[in-house]
Amino acid sequence: MTGILFRILKRDVVRNRVVNLVIFALVAMSAFMLASGAGLIVQLTTSIDTMFDRSMVPHLVQMHAGDIDMERVVTWAAANPLVDQYQIVEMISVDGSHLTLGEGPATEDNGVMDISFVVQNERFDFLLDHDNRPMHPAPGEIGVPLYYREARDLAVGDRVQVDTGSTSHEFRIAGFVRDAMMNPSIIHSKRFLVHQLDYTKLRAYLPDTEYLIEFRLSDTSRTAELAAAYTAAGLPDRGPSVDHRIFRVFNALTDGMVAAVVVVLSLLLMLIAVLCLRFTIVSTIEEDYREIGVMKAIGMGRGHIRRFYLLKYIVLGGVASIGGYLLFLVAKPMLTASITAFLGSAKPPLMLQLVPPAAAALVSAMVVGSAVLILRPIHRISAVAALRSSAVEGQLRRFGVLPLRIGRRVGVNVVLGVRDVTQRPRLYVLVVGIFAVCAAIILVPFHFHSTMKDPSLITYMGISRSDIRIDLRQTDLVGARFEEMVATVAADPEIARFSPQVTARFTLIHEDGTQESMAVETGDFSRFPLEFFSGAAPRDGHEIALSVLKAKDLGRGLGDPLIVVVDGEPQKMTVSGIYQDVTNGGRTAKAPLPVEEQAVLWYSLIVDVQPGVNVAHKTAEYSRLFHPARITDLEGYIEETLGQTISQLAGVVLGAVGIGLVVAVLITALFLKMLIIKDTARIAVMRSLGFSLNDIRLQYQSTALVLLAAGVVAGTVLSNTVGERAVGLLWSFMGAAQIRFVIRPFQAYLLLPILLATAVALTTVLSVSRIRNTSIATTIVE
């Protein structure tokens, strides 16, 4: 029996080469992509786990700029039962203009990163080397953040120079450090690791320091509690406080997003494979309708009959999935290169060995499962009805018929081709569906990439869209300095508009009387509006806007009350809006409130230049004028922080365009092949009526292009609705919960559809050229 089944299989494979090949390719591709996506996710999480484990990442970090009373912190931490370990890390802040990486001559003057120099920690928060061991540079050596290896194309042995004008210090790169906290490019602080001797020397002429007050907890779920206790104790807190969950999210961001897009693509491909399967199986059942009737009549059980048809899909699904998995094994080093470089390779964990093959197996299970479901109608075929029937075509519903007289103008063949679509809608709706998914495969990553590249993106990240952003960290007498800056900017004729914003600590009073300290950005939010997830910017001192994460922490929604201490008095405020934020740990608030100087955390000034003014020049000018403030031109900011993600996404977009086109070509070939077989008699009749082969080919080309057009329209709608939501879900990993696609209409609505149409048209030309040597007489007699 098994022998017979395999002989059936062998003959089927030979007879239906094209159809089987297309399904094989689709299943193999989706197995490859699902294995890759799953593999990437596992590699990512295990690499992060290993890195966090080896570096002993702190669970809570309070940043602080300015003087610090270490004794108080130490006494408090030693007495707090939540604290397992603690340390205060001193960092020397190095201005970008003093630092040259590599052979120069350019300094890091225009870089967006806050650069600091540190020594290796003794207890935890280790900066790791290539092999995930704490790095210990010798005197004269330096450990450079991995980010710069990619961004500045550095290598071990290259030079790093710190030059303040009066003194100069030169280092050789000993290696690149993996910094569990500050590795991701999206975090704009970077730590350089040096020997204690060099640190002491640098400290002598670079007096600006910042502190990281770091804690490890025995119960990591209680970080919020510890943070609240810390601020309640009035300890040094001039800077944001961040917990380890944010480090994890940011570390996972770039590769995680790529992995998620790959998984989404693989699921779309699987959907296409299943749709194709449905199409081919339904066609086969229609074709074999009477054979199935005879099989039933002569007493073959349902199980037997189903097995004949199912075997092919079991073998096809299995072999294709194995093929896809093998392809994954080949491509794996390339796929995981970025993860292993940035996060280090984990010891091959069992999960990494198991998950990708399981993902591939899942694809084959889906194929077989779908085939079982699609084959169910076999049960319903009545032996008697099949034996008595001549054809099943009568079952097809017909919709409106396009009158042929239109054809005088646009050509009878085109009209016949188009009319066929309206006459056999059930046959064609599936193909339209597949073309729609193809269009979505191309458009969703494309829209996502456009959105990531668009300057408006930052408004989803809690940063107002502007040309230049000026940040000034709180140190002594900074208030006056900020006033000067505002006055300078106000008097600058090249500036179109500006808005000073001051972030300060405010006290929040909960219903139960407990207090919580909260960073609130104050200022006028009407000039540089943010994108609000819900609601709007606060208009007066009685309204406050919260970031998504902060609102979640506080359990507050739109319109809910909140009591904040303003000028020493509790003041009832209403939540006017919720916005998305990725800055400062994603937990922020905005309200136009009066600020007390001693509560200020940092100052910001957002500025738009007049039309025609060069933003880069203005940025450079302000950098000189406003030292030590950090001046960022926002396009540059996006480039430096999201550049890596964007370029990886660009790769995904290219891949998606390739996949979309390949799938469209495969489906067109498959579909036309089956259609032409199905229509043999129809074609013969048309030829006997005097239609030339070219006429008939034109009809099929018209049909294919009409289907594609319908598919592209459906796919565009799908991308802009479901696709946008799916991407919004990925985006929510970053603390942002909603995103509106930035659509580039020329590429999305013209270029890409034309590309798809060209591919489909070429395939159609090739496929219909097979309508050739069919004998009119034999076909009609048959």
Binding site: I8, R290, I298, R388
Partner: protein
């Protein structure tokens, strides 16, 4: 289920009725209270005009189609009470079917099409099934095309393949629905010779046909009209044929039987 029996009645229909449901409260009676009994080893033909219910009778008494009322007993087992899988098993093991269009599986060779039912039946070894198939193919004159694709055989050859497929499990009864309907007269004669041989070996055969020549080869002809068996004619045993020495004599007998049958049918207004 072992259905091999030694009782004389193989198949019996009692008050067998079948209506086709055309719509709500709209049923078309196709068989009306049919009474029929077929004895073991009989060779029976069912004739009648198109729409008289011949094929429906065949499909219903073979358990392929459900009856509306009445009983069908096959080897003493009441088919109407059996679930579909049990009916399928009986058709596979104890019945053989030959159709006008034989519909072989296109992804199988001719040999595999024949042995498939034998393998599925599962009560003999593979070797036994293949031996039986080889013997049947030898007997029906298609041994040389065993390995061929079904597209490489003529209509007559394919019908022989159908006969081999029907006989592979040594059934108690062979049902034929216009088995020669798609063949020319030469091929038709050859197929009837084969079926005659099968019958002589003891297998019960029941055919539905329009063709007087085919019906004349059987022993008993039933005539149907409007869903009922309205007349029956016993023609007696067919003289031995297939032997070249007696061929002329048999041909004369054949003619006489055909004439007798034609006369009977004329009397019935057919």
């Amino acid at each position: 289920m072992n259905m091999k029996q030694t009782t004389t009645t193989v198949l019996e229909a009692q008050q067998l009725s079948k209506n086709y449901v055309l719509g709500k409260n709209n049923e078309l009676p196709v068989l009306s209270s049919v009474e029929l009994s077929i004895q073991r080893g009989e060779f029976v033909a069912v004739m009648g005009a198109s729409g008289s219910g011949k094929s429906t009778l065949l499909y219903t008494i073979s358990g392929m189609d459900r009856m509306t009322s009445g009983r069908v007993l096959f080897n003493g087992v009441e088919l109407s009470r059996l679930p579909e899988p049990a009916l399928a098993r009986i058709r596979l093991t104890n019945m053989g079917f030959i159709f006008q269009q034989i519909h072989l599986l296109k992804n199988l060779s001719i040999f595999d099409n024949i042995v498939l039912s034998g393998y599925l039946c599962g009560n003999r070894t593979r070797r036994e099934v293949e031996g039986r198939a080889a013997e049947l193919m030898e007997r029906t004159g298609i041994a040389e095309i065993a390995g061929n694709d079904i597209t490489q055989a003529s209509g007559g050859q394919l019908q022989r393949v159908g006969i081999c497929r029907a006989l592979i499990n040594k059934p108690d009864i062979i049902f034929g629905d216009e088995p020669t309907g798609a063949l020319n007269s030469k091929a038709s004669g050859e197929i009837m010779d084969l079926l005659g041989g099968v019958h002589r070996e003891g297998t019960t055969v029941m055919l539905v046909t329009h063709d007087i020549k085919v019906a004349a080869r059987t022993e008993r002809v039933l005539f149907m009209m409007d869903g009922r068996i309205v007349a029956e004619k016993r023609l007696g045993a067919w003289p031995a044929d297939g032997n070249s020495n007696t061929r002329e004599g048999s041909s004369a007998d054949e003619k006489a039987r055909e004439a007798e049958l034609a006369q009977w049918l004329i009397e019935l207004d057919f």
